[in-house]
Structures are given as structure tokens and as C-alpha cells.
């Protein structure tokens, strides 16, 4: 694969270089322009004979919140992981913030890192670094990847920890926090890189329902601040009330997408009807 930096196209124009530490307020302004931040074209991925993604196209505009729902094995997580190259697609192109990755060409580790920087990832299992304090968890990559000084990074980290209401945990180790708190720290850690899009891979699936709510509340605030988000989730109320668009995936493809209320309340496709009935009528 090869990363081509498209000059003055897509989100490339207008997009403030968030790496220099643009504040959320700036980001909001950029987001309103609605240029595509993520564009997937003909994305395919297979493991042996198992086709996980079959030529998927998807475009997400700046400031848009997209909820991806669908049965397990539909390819939702794989799709998300292709966006920041945790999985390397077999075919198709991935464009994030103007940087394009073409499957089938060699991609250097450096280029992959550059693309990953633009996308923040939140995992189902949090994946905080257990040997580092909460503050170091949020600051480390800012220093190593963005080249911020320790003081700058820590200041930004504290700001973000306050935003997820966990500033008091800064000097503790992650194991001292509950699952919901750990996930909020993970959100702060991803935000600290000033990403142009946040990817959430079933962020509440490992949490009990009550604790999941506090994570959803933080995500809702984030959505309201204008962050571009792609959220793989089984939380149908969140998808309906917070997202701008719901995408239903099944068998490696997008079978239906559109206005959240429309898709969730009146799904057209038989497969989405079956799935949505299963999650809403339990």
C-alpha cells in the first residue's frame, strides 16, 4: 500500500493541523464545513476463504456521527480497524483526512503511523497501559509522537481528564479505576492526539449497562462538541438519539443506511428488520 497525501482536497483543506494542538473550539468551526474526513472505496478484506468485507464504500463528513450496527461477524469491527490500518485491507482505498492508502501497494511503517495519528481509537477492552499512571497513559504518545514537551502534554492531558470527569485519577494506576472510568480515560488518551475522527469499537460492550451509561454520556458530549465519530455499537438508543446516520452491516457489506429514526424504526431491508427486532424487542 502507499499513502498519497492529496494536496488541497477532501478534509485536507480547511482542516486545521490538529497536531499543533488546535483547541476543540477551532475544531468545531472546521467540522461545520462538512468535508469528508473518512472515505472508504471498494474496501475488501478476507481471512483465507472467509470474506469479512466485500467491497464496502462509506463516506463520513466532518462533524458527522455515524453509528454502525449489525450482527456479530458482519464486519463492523474489521471495517473500523481498516480505517487506522490495524487491519490491512486486501483491496480498495482508505482516505482519512486527505491521506489516502491504496490496498495492494506497500505502505511504510512511517506512513501508517502518520495516518493513524489522524484517527483516535477506543477499544472494547480499553487497552490502557497498566504500568503507567493515568496521566502518563494520556501524555506518553503526545510526547513521543507529537513531540510535545512533558509540561505541554500533561497540561493537555489534565484538560481532557477534566472533560471526562476523571482529573482526580491522574496520579493513580488504571487498575484503581472501574471499567467505565478506564474507558473514559481511554477516550481522553485518544483525544489527546487531536484526531480528526474518533473510532469506537463497541466501547460499552465490556461494561455492565449502568456503567456503560457514563461512557455514553461522555461520547454524547463529544458528539455535541462537533467531533467526527464512527461508533460500532449495539446501543440502539445511543445510535437513534446521538448519531446523525445509522449504518446497518451484515455479511461483509452495508445493507442499509440513513436517518437514525427512519432506519431503526422502519428498516427496509429484511435482514436489518430481523436484526433490529432482535436488539430492540428484548
Amino acid at each position: 500500500m502507499e499513502i498519497v497525501r492529496e494536496p488541497q482536497t477532501q478534509a485536507g483543506d480547511g482542516a486545521v493541523d490538529l497536531r499543533t494542538g488546535a483547541q476543540p473550539a477551532d475544531r468545531l468551526e472546521v467540522s461545520r464545513k462538512g468535508a469528508p474526513v473518512v472515505r472508504l472505496e471498494g474496501l475488501s478484506k478476507r481471512y483465507g476463504d472467509n470474506v469479512v468485507l466485500d467491497g464496502v464504500d462509506l463516506e463520513v463528513s466532518a462533524g458527522e456521527v455515524v453509528a454502525m450496527v449489525g450482527p456479530s461477524g458482519a464486519g463492523k469491527s474489521t471495517l473500523l480497524r481498516c480505517i487506522n490500518l490495524l487491519e490491512v485491507p486486501d483491496a480498495g482505498t482508505v482516505t482519512v483526512a486527505g491521506q489516502c492508502v491504496d490496498a495492494g501497494k506497500e505502505v511504510s511503517a512511517k506512513d501508517a503511523m502518520r495516518l493513524r495519528r489522524t484517527a483516535g481509537m477506543v477499544f472494547q477492552s480499553f487497552n490502557l497501559f497498566p504500568h503507567l499512571t493515568v496521566l502518563r497513559n494520556v501524555s506518553l504518545a503526545q510526547e513521543r509522537v507529537l513531540g510535545r514537551s512533558r509540561a505541554e502534554a500533561d497540561a493537555r492531558s489534565m484538560e481532557l481528564l477534566e472533560r471526562v470527569h476523571l482529573a482526580g485519577k491522574a496520579d493513580t494506576y488504571p487498575s484503581r479505576s472501574s471499567g467505565g472510568q478506564q474507558q473514559r480515560i481511554a477516550i481522553a488518551r485518544a483525544l489527546a492526539m487531536d484526531p480528526q475522527v474518533m473510532l469506537f469499537d463497541e466501547p460499552t460492550s465490556a461494561l455492565d449497562p449502568e456503567v456503560g451509561l457514563e461512557v455514553l454520556a461522555v461520547m454524547r458530549e463529544l458528539a455535541e462538541s462537533g467531533m467526527t465519530m464512527i461508533v460500532v455499537t449495539h446501543e440502539i438508543p445511543f445510535a437513534r438519539d446521538v448519531s446523525d446516520r445509522v449504518v446497518v452491516m451484515a455479511d461483509g457489506g452495508i445493507i442499509e443506511e440513513g436517518d437514525p429514526h427512519q432506519v431503526i424504526n422502519h428498516p427496509q431491508h429484511e435482514r436489518s428488520q430481523r436484526f433490529l427486532r432482535a436488539v430492540t424487542e428484548r
Partner: protein
């Protein structure tokens, strides 16, 4: 009591051989472990062969090969050098496997989180995965170190004047069959116990942080 002084003379050599062999093993074991974990067959197959050979031959045989073989015919080596080198190489084989299992025990999500943040491979290893692997590997590594303190006595076979060498010499000189070796036994226990306590302390302290 007259045996104590004689046997104590060996303590510096026992400690020296143990520490130097551990240092060599700790340093050489790391590249060996990394090569062993590589996805490239050109790296992991030779690494595995080297580890198997290092561990598969009895230490005393290694020492004879190095001291009498290499030492007499290629590079001149005195017993102490040959002993440190031989035990160092063997330790590299064992520590490589200990490192490898430590690295394997770190959850793959830690690599993924590092990747997602854009950290380089080196940063991920040095700052994220390495320290966690170290904590996992520590109990096994310290068990190995304590074992090596005792098993370093094999260097007496090539004439390094360690605790066992001195006990044997004292036994021959005085005709006492038991006393010098009881003294040696007591010294080994006195040397090993603080190590065991220290490693247990360090382990439980580190464990508190990693517990998740």
C-alpha cells in the same frame, strides 16, 4: 571453624561468575528472544536452534568445550574467563526463553493501543510492552538467577577457585570429609536467601500495579 576461612575464600569467585554470567545472559538473551519471536523464518529458526543447543548440552560439557577446546586451540582463556563465558552463553539461552514468554504474556491489545496512538515499534517495545514483559518475566528470571548462584559451582571443574573448589581443596588438605561441605552449604543458603526475599518483594510490589 577452621574450615570457614578456607571456604569463604571462594565467595568472591562464586559471586563474580554468577554476576558476570547473568549480565552476559541478560544482554545476549534479549536479541535472541526478539529473533525467536520474529515472523521471519530466517530469524526465528536459527534463534530456536541456538537456544536449543545452548540449553541442550550439560553445563560442564560446555565448560570443557570452551576451556579445553576453544581456550587451548584458538583464543587463550583462563578458567575464570571460560567459566563466565560458558555460563553466560547458557544463561542467554534460558533467559531468552524467559523473556519470550514474558513478551508473549502481554496482551495483544497493548500493541494495538500503541499502534493506534501512532507510537513507533521501538517506542511500543521500550515503553509499553517491554516494561510489562519485564514484570511478567521477573519471577522466572530471579528463580533462574538463584539457581545459577548454586549451579555456578560447576566452574570448579575447570579450576575456578569458587566455594566448591575451596571446599574440595580444604577437604583434601585437612582430611575432613564433611565439615568443609557443610560450611559451603551454609554459605550458599546465606547468599541465596536475601536474593529470594528481594525478588519476592519486588515481584509483589510490581504486581500491585499490573493487576487489572
Amino acid at each position: 571453624m577452621e574450615h570457614v576461612g578456607a571456604v569463604l575464600l571462594g565467595v568472591p569467585y562464586t559471586l563474580l561468575v554468577t554476576v558476570v554470567a547473568l549480565a552476559i545472559g541478560a544482554a545476549l538473551g534479549l536479541p535472541l528472544a526478539l529473533a525467536r519471536r520474529s515472523s521471519l523464518a530466517a530469524l526465528h529458526l536459527p534463534a530456536r536452534a541456538v537456544i536449543d543447543v545452548l540449553r541442550g548440552i550439560p553445563p560442564v560439557v560446555w565448560l570443557f568445550i570452551i576451556f579445553f577446546g576453544v581456550g587451548n586451540q584458538f583464543v587463550p582463556l583462563d578458567p575464570l574467563q571460560a567459566g563466565c563465558l560458558g555460563l553466560g552463553l547458557i544463561s542467554a539461552g534460558y533467559l531468552a526463553e524467559i523473556y519470550r514468554s514474558g513478551l508473549g504474556a502481554v496482551h495483544s491489545g497493548q500493541w494495538e493501543a500503541s499502534d493506534a496512538l501512532g507510537l513507533s515499534r521501538t517506542d511500543s517495545m521500550v515503553r509499553i510492552v517491554g516494561p510489562q514483559a519485564f514484570r511478567v518475566a521477573l519471577p522466572a528470571a530471579s528463580t533462574y538467577a538463584i539457581g545459577l548462584l548454586k549451579d555456578s559451582s560447576v566452574v570448579s571443574a575447570i579450576g575456578v577457585a569458587d566455594i566448591v573448589f575451596r571446599s574440595t581443596a580444604d577437604s583434601r588438605a585437612t582430611g575432613a570429609a564433611l565439615a568443609p561441605f557443610l560450611v559451603a552449604a551454609a554459605i550458599y543458603i546465606l547468599l541465596g536467601t536475601p536474593l529470594a526475599i528481594a525478588s519476592r518483594r519486588m515481584d509483589s510490589r510490581l504486581r500491585q500495579r499490573v493487576a487489572r
